[in-house]
Symmetry: C2
Subunit: 152 residues, 2 copies
Amino acid sequence: MVTSTTILDRAHEIFDAHLGVNKLRRTPERFAILKEVYECDDHFDIESLYTSMKEKKYRVSRATLYNTMELLLDCELVRKHRFGEQQAHYEKSLHHKQHDHIIRTDTGEVIEFCDPRIQNIKATLEDIFDLEISHHSLYFYGTPRGKQKEKV
Amino acid sequence: MVTSTTILDRAHEIFDAHLGVNKLRRTPERFAILKEVYECDDHFDIESLYTSMKEKKYRVSRATLYNTMELLLDCELVRKHRFGEQQAHYEKSLHHKQHDHIIRTDTGEVIEFCDPRIQNIKATLEDIFDLEISHHSLYFYGTPRGKQKEKV
DNA sequence: TTGGGTGCAAATTCTTTGCAATCTC
DNA sequence: GAGATTGCAAAGAATTTGCACCCAA
């Protein structure tokens, strides 16, 4: 048996520090939400987060969820996505290797991948346009071979 | 003086064919919208399209705009974006060299760029995951050097 | 003529806001 | 205690839908 620091612990520290530095309050809701987010291994939206917390008898309002997600975005503990639908999706991002996504257009399934060439492109762009690029979003959309939509 | 085929002409042909093949009606609204879209050199949203058509005395309902954009997306005459806000943005896409975008996080300004390595990444992914990738969306977010946000 | 398309307004969906009550600091 | 934060419900913004009327085929 070993004592170990989990990713949630680490996230908790970062969040705690962020709250401290920005003089924000350490409310139980905020930490409960962080925990829920970090216990989820998938992408999720506000509604499903709301539901799963409610099921676990931890009731927070949607307003608080939206608020807290903003804080978590600020300290980069979560990432926000718009896969194309209306609603935003989120995923935890700490110690989660930088990656991008492929969205299956037939099922909506999300595949993660990692390609170093994206960093090269980023570096090139920073040089060409004299920019500081903070982040990016990249999605490829497709279907398994031999299973493309047979649209007219 | 020469007779030439404009991009709008070509788009018109493609749209016309698409409507024909799918047994959809060639209504004046649809062509008016196509024209408006192709006369716009920027990215736009439904609301601004609605307004600019209204100003030109061509009144179409928002519902028709949304409908028609779907058709134009189907035949790839426009591309749809979600730069991060709620509302979707569109841009004409015919004869518009494949490109991606950099969004300035300070001003919202959109810079277009083109990098062939993206096609390489796409090809790699298709091989690895045995997929047929139909399209992608890539955005880099950043600010000019020496002008980053000074957030705590 | 006839079913697809249009406009309008109402309905939905997702997110934000206002405000009284509550809880950190 | 003071002021930030919460929950709730109402407001907003973007998009979709229902339906009577209209028009392209």
